[in-house]
């Protein structure tokens, strides 16, 4: 053997090389998005349709306060988050079907970093979409509370990390049957969204629906977002929302990392 070059010994410690791996995975994933940002917009068509065609129907609706935008936009942001990140597993399905996931799995890249880097890309995409939505509704009388909006976006990113990771976990588990992935994703997505009160206040509905809404963690995230975007950073709803988002993120990351570590092709 003339060229025994095992990759340069790492001067980084364990944690350093883990962070480096996350950065590399994130860098690879984000690059096509930066090159063709049109994908960013394409990922938010459905929420935009709701914003434009459903939002105006809300004026005068009981239980949502005087401005429909102030009530609907925070929920719409959660909707973007859930729509976009819950489909994130699609990329893993494509990469697994094509062969590039396999190729990367045979590199020394940390498996947990493979998941976290991908999820971070979903979160950053989501933040960009959130900012776009806020800018789009400003001319229509949406009142912006900068500190609350920043906190609201951060909360959204945490939720997105959780749901994105769950989506990756689902895709890794169902990589041989893409239809299963979409079936489960769609079956879970719509009930969760409707029960979270993003479109209409769920507590105005029948008792069973209101109860179901109370056990949906997304409900608390939506309520926290509404408080934050109204500039109410100390509302109790914010604390509950933070807990719910953290729980979604923790469960999602645990499932996703486990899936990636065990990924065998």
């Amino acid at each position: 053997m003339t060229t025994t070059t095992v990759a340069a010994p790492r001067r980084l410690g364990r944690a350093g090389s883990f962070l480096r791996d996350i950065g590399l995975v994130f860098g690879r994933e984000i690059r096509p998005e930066l090159r063709t940002p049109i994908g960013l917009i394409a990922g938010m068509t459905q929420p935009l349709v709701f914003l434009a065609l459903f939002g105006p129907l809300l004026s005068g609706m009981p239980g949502i306060g005087e401005s429909p935008w102030q009530w609907f936009v925070p929920g719409n942001l959660v909707m973007i988050g859930v729509f976009g990140t819950s489909g994130a597993g699609y990329h893993v399905l494509v990469e697994s079907g094509g062969g590039s996931l396999e190729r990367v799995l045979v590199t020394p890249l940390n498996r947990a970093a493979m998941l976290i880097g991908r999820t971070l890309k979903e979160a950053v995409t989501l933040l960009a979409q959130g900012v776009l939505i806020i800018l789009a509704v400003l001319p229509f009388g949406f009142r912006l509370h900068p500190a609350g909006a920043a906190a609201g976006l951060a909360l959204l990113a945490v939720t997105g990390i959780g749901i994105g990771s769950l989506s990756f976990a689902l895709a890794l588990a169902a990589k041989r049957t893409p239809s299963l992935f979409w079936g489960v994703q769609q079956t879970v997505l719509f009930p969760l969204l409707l029960l979270s009160g993003v479109l209409l206040p769920a507590d105005q509905g029948p008792a069973w629906l209101a109860t179901a809404s109370r056990v949906n963690p997304l409900t608390y995230v939506v309520e926290a977002e509404r408080a934050l975007f109204n500039g109410d950073l100390t509302a109790p709803a914010v604390g509950y929302g933070l807990l719910a988002a953290a729980a979604i993120a923790a469960v999602g990351l645990a499932a996703g990392i486990r899936g990636m570590r065990r990924a065998a092709l």
């Binding site: 095992v6 990759a7 860098g27 690879r28 062969g99 396999e102 590199t107 065998a264 092709l265």
Partner: protein, 342 residues
């Protein structure tokens, strides 16, 4: 470079267990070029996936480039290159980006990865495509990109899973040129799977034939052909003389599968028709034998001494398909077709 003992992989499927790989022992030394040949579903890819740490074995041990795949998969991943059956590059990514990130995944610095990526783009005739999105490449270009991805970190051992499947003959030849040059320059050990007989025959120095999850032969293509199949010799003699000729042929040591027939064997150039056949419709004797070219003159002399006419002779060198047939009783091509039909 590769050492396995009793490497086994079972898959649980509905209604039972599929024994994809049933305890294989492999020893590949540094610098060898070994082809794993077998029909679809024989266990080639499953074996390769275990060796490349993609799939944990059900039983058995494997050491790859000095690293145990169970206890030190990371060490193995650092030292091996893997070019899978699929497309290694992601559809939405640019050619050069994929190469640079692959290098960086292997611990290279940014500048080093860029330099290496440019070198490989040049070596694999992909220079003009660096900024193209992978999905816009042709099949052959995409395959060369896969090879470049597998070589980024200069692995000492390279695994290729059916590297040329689906390529046109020109791209196949081109890809092989690159692989052989790589080996010449860096002494890289190469382990590949293929179900192309001619490819295993002409490119590999050593062929391991796998069938139903077991290695059933392991030698140089030349020795496999000579030892396991032998040359097929056909001798055309006068009418009614086949039986006696067959007796004489059967007395040659190592002659087997002796059969007799009628008619002019195709391709002998023997003129057809009754006028050209003073002895009437000729008879033929066909048999397999080791080292046909040396045996044939002897046989002709023996036939002559027995007063029999030899009208024509033909020797067909065996292919690896004959080897597979001799070993399993099935043709490799048929096995493939059945697999695909199943």
């Amino acid at each position: 470079m590769i050492h396995t003992r009793g490497l086994t992989r079972h898959f649980r499927v509905k209604g039972g267990t599929v024994e994809a790989v049933r305890g294989i022992d492999i020893d590949v030394e540094e610098g060898e070029l070994v082809a794993f040949l077998g029909p679809n579903g024989a266990g080639k890819s499953t074996s390769l996936r275990m060796l490349t740490t993609l799939l944990p074995p059900t039983a058995g041990t494997a050491t790859v480039a000095g690293c145990d795949i169970r206890t030190d998969p990371l060490g193995a991943r650092r030292r091996i290159g893997y070019i899978g059956q699929g497309r290694g590059s992601g559809d939405n990514f640019r050619v050069r980006d994929e190469l640079v990130f692959q290098g960086r995944f292997h611990g290279m610095g940014r500048a080093e990865a860029r330099r290496r990526a440019d070198d490989l783009l040049a070596a694999l005739e992909l220079e003009g495509l660096a900024d193209r999105t992978a999905s816009t490449l042709s099949g052959g270009q995409r395959r060369r990109l896969d090879v470049a991805l597998g070589l980024m970190h200069r692995p000492e051992l390279l695994f290729l899973d059916e590297p040329t499947t689906g390529l046109d003959p020109h791209s196949r030849a081109n890809l092989w040129q690159h692989i052989l040059r790589l080996r010449e320059r860096h002494g890289t050990t190469i382990f590949l799977t293929t179900h192309y007989l001619d490819e295993a025959d002409s490119m590999a120095e050593r062929v391991m034939i796998i069938d139903h999850g077991r290695v059933i032969a392991d030698d140089t293509p030349e020795r496999l052909r000579t030892d396991l199949a032998g040359d097929r010799v056909t001798v055309t003699v006068g009418k009614g003389e086949a039986a006696r000729a067959a007796e004489i042929a059967a007395s040659i040591p190592s002659a087997h599968e002796v059969t007799t027939g009628h008619g002019t064997p195709p391709g002998t150039g023997l003129p057809a028709g009754p006028r050209a056949e003073p002895y009437g419709e000729p008879d033929t004797v066909t048999f397999r034998v080791r080292n046909g070219p040396a045996v044939l003159p002897e046989l002709v002399r023996a036939l002559d001494a027995a007063g029999l006419w030899t009208l024509a002779t033909e020797i067909r060198r065996p292919t690896l398909d004959d080897v597979f047939l001799a070993l399993t009783g099935r043709s490799l091509r048929e096995s493939d077709r059945n697999q695909e039909g199943a």
